[in-house]
């Protein structure tokens, strides 16, 4: 029987992150930072008890230190904030606005949102983004899969099934963000990936044996060379997910908080449950995993992919055709498995628009629902 990572995961989600903190506070404890006001929360990261203002200050200051020490932005740049309407991007937008004003980064901020076309999930979260736009007075641009590729996620899932759909969504979204950024002439994109996300990615890459990604995934910003590529960074890289929720709760920020309806069967769910359990055993485990990921080093002589460009659309790619072209081709031809698995030999054929043999077509059609 297929173990569904969803069951444990939603159990954890249902428990409010703050109830445990409230129960623990039977006696008035003083804030450990200002020692004046009563502490109202316990920091998941360091287990210190803090009052509201000190927590806000600590949280914002940490993001500021991250930005400054890693030199993420330059004065006068235009920065696009990847906004999905979820907690990470809402908090990111808020904190970026606050820090931009407080420390005079001189950045021009705007919101970038991607509409994957998932009914019941994305249309609700987009409403949140539109609200954010009004609240923070930032310009907003929405790009949709429909206009970029001609396919919505709902239509893709109908063709592909429920097992490999996350691959499609992830690959398409990356390109969609870049295209949107280019349309708006943005210098950098920043996303709301938090510490839990990065740690999960490290674990997942170890489980999948993806040594190339393992080396890159802990980098706080991506390389900035190449045409059609907008460098992106993760200012919230060292912020715990629970602290982001705490921040949003106390600041009364509004966000949309449901799981994507197609995600329960994703492989990433296993890594996520494992990470959540690790955090329960030892709260610093998340930072420890990131620390391990940063200190990994790969032997010489291990084959690494080389960056080139796609033959068809000119986007960056390590193969002849970029992944989204391959996936799109598969979708348009009714061969959903074309992007899943290794088919390098077929890339040339597709590029030259040669027909595939009967045998190849048959293999690529079979879908395991």
């Amino acid at each position: 029987m297929m173990m569904s990572p969803a069951s444990t995961h939603t159990d954890i989600k249902r428990r409010s992150p703050l109830s445990e903190f409230r129960v623990a506070l039977k006696m008035p404890v003083l804030c450990s930072s200002c020692a004046e006001k009563r502490a109202v929360l316990k920091r998941p990261k360091t287990a210190h008890s803090l009052c509201k203002e000190c927590f806000f200050w600590a949280f914002e200051e940490e993001v500021h230190q991250t930005i400054v020490s890693a030199q993420l932005f330059k004065h006068g740049e235009t920065v696009g904030i990847g906004a999905s309407g979820g907690k990470d991007s809402t908090v990111l937008a808020h904190v970026m606005k606050v820090l931009n004003e407080r420390y005079n980064y001189g950045l021009k901020l705007l919101l970038l949102s991607v509409d994957e076309g998932i009914t019941g999930y994305r249309d609700d979260s987009l409403e949140t983004v539109k609200r954010n736009q009004q609240q923070y007075e930032l310009p907003l641009k929405i790009v949709s899969y429909e206009e970029l590729y001609g396919w919505t996620m709902d239509a893709i899932v109908k063709q592909v099934g429920l097992k490999n759909n996350c691959t499609f969504c992830g690959v398409f979204r990356r390109q969609a963000l870049d295209r949107g950024a280019m349309m708006l002439k943005v210098d950098k994109i920043c996303t709301g990936h938090n510490a839990d996300d990065v740690a999960e990615t490290v674990l997942m890459n170890v489980l999948r044996g993806d040594i190339a990604r393992l080396r890159r995934c802990t980098a706080i910003s991506t390389a900035s060379e190449g045409e059609g590529v907008v460098p992106r960074c993760k200012p919230l890289k060292y912020a715990y997910e629970k602290e982001i929720v705490l921040y949003a709760y106390f600041k009364k920020l509004d966000y949309f908080s449901t799981e994507c309806i197609y995600s329960p069967n994703a492989y990433r769910g296993h890594a996520r449950t494992f990470l959540k359990d690790l955090e329960a055993v030892r709260p610093s485990a998340i930072m420890d995993v990131i620390h391990s990921g940063e200190n990994l080093s790969v032997r010489e002589g291990v084959k690494m992919p080389v960056q080139g460009t796609c033959g068809r659309c000119g986007y960056i790619s390590s193969q002849a055709l970029c992944k989204s072209c391959v996936l799109l081709e598969g979708l348009n031809r009714g061969l959903p498995r074309l992007g899943i698995g290794k088919h390098h030999r077929l890339h040339e054929k597709i590029l030259l628009q040669q027909p595939l043999t009967q045998e190849e077509e048959r293999k690529l059609k079979a879908v395991d629902f």
């Binding site: 360091t46 000190c54 200050w57 020490s69 990131i290 990994l296 080093s297």
Partner: protein, 516 residues
């Protein structure tokens, strides 16, 4: 599915249901008796050959064990190490020209004191194992974990690597040939087996075989007190592992062994890899899970069983009656989430049932890693390595990293310091460099924790986490070594401007001043 390099070409064909009445895939004659991976059915004879061949291939591929060397086998009584013992016996007893050529010894560490077993249970387990060891005719050592409390502090000094043996194939072959020649010349009428048993019987008379020194209940109590002072099971297991390594290392050094063979199987190493990542040991993953572990310098740890899955070992042990003894450990019957190591074990095993290639994928990942800054240079100062785990320190503060972010968080949560430190009780263990006033000033709360503060700069990231969970002090030998290193680093700071050495101060952990 979900593996990066997976080919889907073959898998979409019709599935072949494995049946036991199939023929063995190797010899194609006999009936298969077991199935290893998805399609490989083996008969009894072919399986035995396959199993034995893997062991010898692993040793032969990595030519680290030179002929005539003394190698100590670390046997815990579990299936993997018992299997390793039987493989070594098998390899040494053959008449084939390619037989293994080293002098084996066995060590068993009795950890009953730490895991709370009674003396009778421990003696029973030891007796069972002794009967197994006696049957092999090799020299064996039974060491109690209590003896770790009386180790000399020199155990933590990295020994220099034994005579420079360049690891090229030609010199290995030359060494092997030379060995055969000398043996032939010395004992022209004795065969090699007799020579070896001759050697081992000699050594048996020299040192009292078996238990090295008797232990008293006070020792056991001291050990229990040490372990009781550790708050979390994760830290306990980590500490136990460290102490065990030190004991094995010490025994190997005093008895003249240059190699240690550990019985970690593929599944065990995959679990170890993941749990080490979770513990923050990313920098030393290659040494912890690779084939050879050169961190101690003069004694090299090798892991010849790393290609065997626990399933193969279990089948082999059952089919060929390999004796093994189950001894409960620290985490036996513990809950799933009791410790990180235990949690990882249950995670990997569960994932393996749904995705059978999990363990082998993790294994392949570990093969592609190497240690970030391999300590090739014998001039590397001893305190550039961690005090406990003897791996290179990974706490440099050059570029912005997770470690630095953690320090900043600690700082920011306790900005206006000393008044809050009394209530927190954590003052000393965090922000060490900044709160100097706290360290020397506040006598009361700080003095007991002072020893832990000093140690932090000598430890790697994950050993610091282990120490954080400990209330009491570590065994004396570790503390005295720590003191020695501190004195040396102070000495070095005084004369640093006069030293012409290129290895700069980055090797020296800063006691005062900048963030640690």
């Amino acid at each position: 599915m979900c593996q990066v390099d997976e080919e889907y070409n073959g898998q979409l064909e019709h599935r072949v249901t494995p049946r036991v009445s199939k023929k063995c895939v190797k010899c194609k004659e006999n009936t298969a008796v077991l199935i290893i991976r998805a399609g490989d059915a083996f008969c009894r004879g072919c399986f035995k050959e396959y199993f034995i061949h893997k062991f010898r291939a692993m040793l032969g591929k990595n030519r680290v064990i030179f002929p005539g060397e003394k190698v100590i086998l670390a046997v815990s009584g579990g299936p993997a190490s018992s299997s390793m013992l039987s493989q070594v016996r098998e390899g040494l007893s053959r008449d084939a020209p390619k037989k293994l050529r080293f002098v084996p010894g066995i060590i068993y560490i009795d950890e009953g004191g730490a895991s709370g077993q009674s003396m009778e249970e421990r003696e029973r387990a030891v007796a069972q194992l002794e009967s197994v060891f006696r049957a092999t005719n090799y020299h064996y050592h039974i060491v109690h974990l209590e003896q770790v409390l009386s180790l000399p502090s020199s155990v933590l000094e990295a020994g220099s690597s034994a005579t420079e043996k360049p690891q090229t194939g030609s010199s290995y072959k030359a060494a092997v040939d030379q060995f055969i020649q000398t043996k032939k010349n010395q004992h022209p009428d004795l065969s090699l087996e007799n020579a070896q048993s001759h050697l081992s019987s000699l050594s048996m008379h020299e040192v009292e075989n078996g238990v090295t020194s008797p232990i008293t209940p006070e020792h056991t109590q001291a050990l229990q007190k040490l372990f009781a002072s550790v708050r979390t099971l994760t830290a306990k297991e980590d500490l136990l592992h460290t102490l065990r390594q030190h004991l094995i290392l010490h025994t190997a050094r005093t008895q003249g062994y240059t190699k240690v063979m550990m019985g970690d199987s593929c599944s065990r190493l995959a679990i170890k890899l993941l749990s080490n990542i979770s513990l923050g040991r990313g920098a030393s993953l290659a040494t912890d899970t690779g084939f050879s572990d050169p961190r101690y310098g003069d004694v090299v740890i090798v892991r010849p069983m790393r290609d065997y899955s626990s399933k193969e070992i279990a089948y082999y042990n059952r089919m060929f009656d390999i004796p093994s003894v189950f001894i409960p450990g620290l985490d036996t019957k513990a809950q799933d989430k009791a410790s990180i190591q235990h949690l990882t074990e249950s995670f990997v095993t569960k994932l393996q049932t749904d995705f059978p290639s999990t363990v082998s994928t993790i294994y392949r990942t570990s093969e592609k890693l190497h240690t970030a800054c391999p300590p090739q240079n014998t001039n590397t100062q001893p305190f550039a390595k961690c005090l406990l785990c003897v791996c290179a320190l990974d706490t440099k503060l050059e570029e912005f990293s997770a470690y630095q972010a953690t320090l900043i968080s600690e700082q920011l949560s306790q900005r206006r310091g000393p008044a809050s430190s009394a209530s927190q009780g954590q003052c000393c263990s965090s922000g060490g460099g900044q709160h100097q006033g706290c360290m020397t000033g506040e006598g009361g709360c700080c003095s007991s924790a002072k020893s832990t503060v000093d140690l932090k700069s000598l430890l790697c990231y994950s050993c610091r986490l282990t120490i954080k969970d400990m209330v009491n002090a570590l065994p004396q030998y570790i503390l005295s070594e720590a003191e020695r290193r501190k004195r040396r680093s102070q000495m070095r700071e005084e004369i640093s401007e006069f030293l012409l050495d290129e290895e700069e101060d980055e090797a020296i952990p800063r006691v005062n001043g900048s963030l640690q």
